[in-house]
């Protein structure tokens, strides 16, 4: 069953929903990157929670007008309006009062959500409300999604992605250095509003699938995970988009196989797994890579320091150093240097003296910054340059 779901053999509808969720996840991950860069990741939580009253009111309004209250586009418009109001209150609170933005987010999020839950209870008592399935919006669901709903979500995600590609450059500049961006002719207020607008867009479009309580995960986690893989904004957007797409797709596909299983929690679990794997195995910043690199570097430092001590006839106290030198056949069991050890020690000492000279010369700044106590000087300078340095060394020796 699961295999079938993952390979799109559950039938036309489920496939369509999974594809829509993937597109939505991609938009969430890419948008989330810019929220992360602007230190605003939590804003999507505020948006999603404050969309609940609007969702409920839209349903009530449609029921009064005698329409079917489940029309997704109308519900989304209601959600967007109330999320917009929530954002406005947050902005106003943090601009006009002494409340910090995170406190304003917390206050608005809980008040709007509370109001929304009250309204949902009212709806439960209405005749039309009982089968409305509005609770599905809390944790997300793909069950009973119609072709139209999938299309709505896919189009919303695609639109957000389109806007993102247009405005990525000013959005990144404003996140990095808003004052410089302003002097470069970027309207920073407008750019922040576009970023917020896109966050509002993905969040509102996504609440049906991912659920308004947990959609913040689909916006935040892919960006955080992507940061492990790359140090450039443009790649980060792509990686976060890909992780988001995978989360959306897997979440929708898995929940399609188990009736009554909400989509939101599955998406969160998948996102968390992606994050965990990334954190462990990403090259560069990943935990394993860092540990390995650190261990290897530490060993090399110990060997180098041991060699320098040998060359200068100083005793070696550290156990690890002695062990490493022995393993390389550089010292004997009694701590005396072998022939090979003496030769290596002399080389190390000369190299160290050369580096010393190089560090004090501003002309070699780039080379000096690559100093890590280990790199042989020959690998960063030409032979002529080394000859220069040796001349300086001899001068120093004469003094």
């Amino acid at each position: 069953m699961l295999i079938e779901a993952l390979t799109l053999q559950l039938g036309y509808n489920a496939t369509l929903v999974a594809a829509g969720a993937a597109l939505l996840g991609m938009a969430c991950g890419a948008t989330g990157t810019f929220l992360y860069l602007g230190n605003r990741a939590l804003i999507s939580d505020a948006i999603s929670h404050s969309s609940l009253p609007g969702l409920a009111l839209a349903f009530i309004a449609m029921a009064w007008l005698g329409m079917d209250g489940r029309s997704l586009p109308v519900l989304l418009v209601g959600s967007a309006l109330s999320a917009f109001a929530g954002l406005h209150v947050i902005n106003w609170l943090s601009a006009k009062t002494r409340l910090a933005e995170d406190a304003a987010i917390g206050a608005v999020l809980s008040v709007f959500f509370g109001l929304g839950i009250v309204l949902l209870t009212v709806i439960q008592s209405m005749e039309a409300g009982r089968q409305a399935g509005l609770e599905d919006f809390l944790l997300g669901s793909t069950a009973g999604m119609l072709w139209n709903d999938a299309i709505t979500i896919a189009v919303g995600g695609a639109l957000v992605l389109l806007f993102l590609t247009v405005f990525a450059r000013p959005m990144a500049m404003v996140a990095f250095d808003p004052e410089f961006a302003a002097v470069s002719g970027i309207d920073t207020r407008q750019t922040v509003m576009i970023t917020m607008g896109l966050a509002l867009g993905v969040t509102v479009v996504g609440i049906k699938v991912a659920g308004l309580i947990l959609i913040v995960a689909l916006v935040t986690i892919p960006a955080v995970a992507a940061r492990f893989w790359t140090s450039r904004v443009r790649y980060m957007v792509v990686v976060a988009g890909a992780i988001g797409a995978a989360c959306g797709y897997l979440g929708a596909a898995i929940s399609a196989t188990v009736p009554d299983l909400p989509t939101g929690p599955i998406i969160v679990m998948v996102a968390f797994a992606a994050f965990l794997i990334t954190m462990l195995v990403a090259p560069g910043r990943g935990v394993l890579a860092v540990i390995l690199r650190h261990r290897r570097f530490q060993n090399r430092v110990h060997v180098r320091q041991g060699l320098l001590a040998l060359a200068q006839g100083q005793p070696i106290y550290e156990r690890l150093t002695i062990r490493l030198l022995r393993r390389r056949g550089l010292v004997r069991a009694d701590g005396v240097a072998t022939e090979k050890g003496r030769a290596k020690a002399a080389i190390a000492l000369l190299d160290e003296r050369r580096w010393q000279i190089l560090r004090s010369d501003p002309a070699h700044e780039v080379a000096a910054s690559s100093y890590n106590g280990l790199t042989p000087l020959e690998s960063v300078l030409t032979l002529d340059q080394i000859a220069e340095i040796d001349k300086a060394l001899r001068l120093e020796a004469v003094k």
């Binding site: 860069l37 230190n39 247009v166 405005f167 450059r169 000013p170 990144a172 500049m173 996140a175 990095f176 250095d177 004052e179 410089f180 961006a181 302003a182 002097v183 470069s184 002719g185 970027i186 940061r227 790359t230 140090s231 450039r232 904004v233 980060m236 501003p362 700044e365 780039v366 910054s369």
Partner: protein
């Protein structure tokens, strides 16, 4: 209205002289909340010269620059740039901010930061081509940072970061360069290198305005001086303006006297 009168009385540079100045400030008042930090400020910067803005900590120097650039909205006053309102002349200005407030973990290597200086050429969607990459590398080479192009911006020393920001300003191809404490946290060799670049700009007819704290190097580096403390105290050629009595007016206090006698 009281402000207007004060401005008119305080003005001693004729309208004519300010008409073509790269940056002319008239009656500028900026406040955070209800505390005016810059009050009824006038200044006219000379074209093709290097001007130092000096004054004690909290004198409003950074605020003045930000308001002159339109980053902060002033309460009153007028700023013109080459005789036209600033908003239409922004492309002629390059800016090096005080380095605080940057997220140093931002995922951008040095070359991407300098590329931001080309935003005016590139616009929203313009494709980055070979000329842009060359421009970035040549600006980095001018500050001696071309070897660091692929280093993440946070993994540089303070002085190196400052040079990257100067390279970014060079990439803006401006006529007026505004720098907020370009020598803060920079060693002597780097300071000399930056001064050399600024003097090259001046000999190419550019105008350079820098907030500067080290009084001992003012006459050596700069042609003109603007002394301020909330409002203008003195303005003009360094030889005439950078005097003990003016410095006392700006800094006051006995501590300042020690510094100043060492400087002048």
């Amino acid at each position: 209205m009281v402000l207007g009168v004060a401005t008119r009385n305080g003005r001693h540079v004729s309208e004519d002289a300010s008409g073509h100045s790269p940056l002319a400030i008239r009656g500028l008042t900026v406040s955070y909340g209800e505390k005016p930090v810059v009050f009824s400020m006038d200044a006219t910067f000379e074209s093709g010269a290097m001007t130092a803005i000096i004054g004690p900590n909290g004198a409003g120097k950074s605020t003045l620059l930000k308001a002159a650039l339109g980053i902060l909205a002033p309460l009153s006053g007028k700023v013109t740039c080459f005789g036209k309102p600033l908003s239409r002349q922004l492309e002629k200005i390059a800016y090096v901010p005080q380095r605080a407030g940057i997220d140093w973990d931002f995922p951008a290597p040095v070359r991407d930061v300098v590329m931001m200086g080309l935003y005016r050429n590139l616009g929203l969607m313009g494709r980055i081509g070979a000329i842009h990459h060359e421009k970035v590398m040549s600006c980095l080479a001018r500050v001696g940072m071309d070897g660091f192009a692929d280093r993440q911006i946070g993994r540089l020393s303070g002085g190196q970061q400052q040079r990257v920001f100067i390279a970014r300003a060079l990439a803006q191809c401006a006529d007026l360069f505004l720098l907020d404490e370009p020598f803060a946290g920079v060693d002597v060799a780097t300071e000399k290198a930056i001064v050399k670049i600024l003097k090259e700009l001046r000999s190419n007819g550019k105008t350079v305005v820098a907030v500067h704290h080290d009084l001992s190097t003012v006459p050596e580096y700069f042609d003109n001086v603007l002394l301020m403390n909330t409002t203008r105290i003195a303005e003009g050629a360094a030889g005439e303006t950078f005097t003990q009595s003016n410095l006392l007016k700006a800094y006051g206090g006995a501590l300042a006297r020690v510094q100043i006698s060492a400087a002048v």
